[in-house]
Symmetry: C2
Subunit: 344 residues, 2 copies
Amino acid sequence: MQMMEERSKKVLCAVVQSYINFPDPVGSMLVTKRYSFGLSPATIRNIMADLEDMGFLAQPHTSAGRVPTDRGYRFYVDLLVAEKDYYTNMEILQEIYKRLEALRNNIDVFLGETTRTLSKLSHYLGVAMSPRLDMTTLKRIELLKYRADKIAAILFTDEGLIKNKVVSLDSEISQKDLNRITGYLNSEFSGHTFDEIRFKVIKEMSKEKIRCDTLISRAMKICREALSFSHNDLFVSGLSEVFDLPDFADLKKIRELSRAIEDKHTIIELLDSLSEFDGLQIIIGSENSMDEMKKLSVVVSTCKEGYRPIGVVGIIGPTRMNYEKAIYIVDNTAKFITKMLSGR
Amino acid sequence: MQMMEERSKKVLCAVVQSYINFPDPVGSMLVTKRYSFGLSPATIRNIMADLEDMGFLAQPHTSAGRVPTDRGYRFYVDLLVAEKDYYTNMEILQEIYKRLEALRNNIDVFLGETTRTLSKLSHYLGVAMSPRLDMTTLKRIELLKYRADKIAAILFTDEGLIKNKVVSLDSEISQKDLNRITGYLNSEFSGHTFDEIRFKVIKEMSKEKIRCDTLISRAMKICREALSFSHNDLFVSGLSEVFDLPDFADLKKIRELSRAIEDKHTIIELLDSLSEFDGLQIIIGSENSMDEMKKLSVVVSTCKEGYRPIGVVGIIGPTRMNYEKAIYIVDNTAKFITKMLSGR
DNA sequence: ATTAGCACTTAACCATTGAGAGTGCTAAAC
DNA sequence: GTTTAGCACTCTCAATGGTTAAGTGCTAAT
């Protein structure tokens, strides 16, 4: 790979670019027409044959042109990222700004709109995920009496997430007790991650069995219920965008994608595994560890507030993706969010 | 219509049923085979020709069997509802129960799961919508200090909805002032609909300009922000179910549906217009006033807590829908939710 | 090393064809 | 007079086959 001739690189990139822009296998003639190498189709043909041998290109069938393999895309993308001075588009930046600026106060609406923006701009699937609740840090908990036997627990996290959850009680509780419980829970758990708190609660509860302090035991029960969130929040938009792509002309493929979106499971797992790393990440087709994703490419980046990860945003699309644009959009969206959050 | 012969009715129903179960146009021969009238294909043929003249059946093309028109479905459904003693299926009831029972405390999760249940059971699109916020009644508002210049407003409605919203302040506020504002807002607005409150706030604010009482004016500002919710909450699930239906074999149709789901706009409007009426409602194809819906059928029902509507749930599918099952599922889901809510 | 020329391969397109399904009409049967 | 058998007719659908166009790989000439 490192010993590939400069000329071959150029041809490979030409093929990839052509294929990204026009979804037809690209032939030697086309390359000479669209990109001006000073070479004849026959020469290009030889080069392309070499690139195929090296595993960067493939033929759908004997008499068709070539299409990039995942390795081909990878090479192209690495080059793209190395050059770094690709593509700028003020309109896109402004669009991101315009759509997200006003929404900073509500993380759910915000992430939802983020995915819509991502998909609108990229014409692929936009995804966003808030960080795993287990890992977030409780800032404060407030308990509000709601109905006779129900209270609303409002959880504030360091990340700026606000969650509310209704907790049912086995018996009525006085406002005074509720205040004491609130105070107790805050003094005990504020500053700890949900995971830690859960662990502490379990420990405490087994102790309580012996000591039988009803108030603390009640506090623990409430706390356990209040923290029982099942999953991360995943937002996905833009399935309808994907319909227009020739890559998904096949009904089956869209169905699969649609299933994945409704399941959420696969995508959550994917983003979860990516959220551990910092900054931009690009996964191309078969590089994905999950089977359902092996025909798709993923471009994501993490958003941070200070050094704390606040979520991950990205684009999912076909391997024949406009990586340049996708990278630009995702990168800037993530940076914009990070900046927006740190500014406040 | 009312003077239609008994025999013709039977044939019409047979055609509808056959077509619902097997997505092929049904011919006279098929009718005699699958349903035992004591008649020959030729006679059935004549009857079916009559039914076509009357507008209940139609031929896709000359040499095909017949398919029901929307009027045909309507006739069938009306009969179905009139008889009322259709279809019962304990498994379905148990499934509904099992999936929804535990979730009553969180309206959002609950409605989301409701749509998933509806779509899973029906294999069509499941939809659910919480009532328009404008029309809901504020029970209580709580303001919690969140960051220096931000507070979280927690809104409790009579319907059991809990909404939180972050409100930015122009300058810091003391806890004491916040408490006073909270008390003021509750005494002033509790028991009023959001719509009324908004109106009052606007009135008050113009007055304030003159009196210049900063605390009340602050309270109003906060209240206005806290109540600025854009839309109803719409939940839709099961697009992937719809892929397997031959009615949507065409990519274009699914794309349209997928757009409608992402827009939400059309569906919200639809459900909104239906939420005014009580109980089960069935809209078949062209009976829909909206163009986007003219190829779809809708089966919905409203859920109530006491006499107060709490939302609307339903199924959207092709006109060739298994109405019997759909009605059963929607009706029982709505009733179950109503019962669940009134039990508490 | 590059290129022109050419035979070869394959998918895509198009027109034709025949089978199959279902109808409407007519005339016979009940 | 209602029902039915018989039959010609219409239309879709799937299969067939031939043609076209695109693009390749190889060879020989530049």
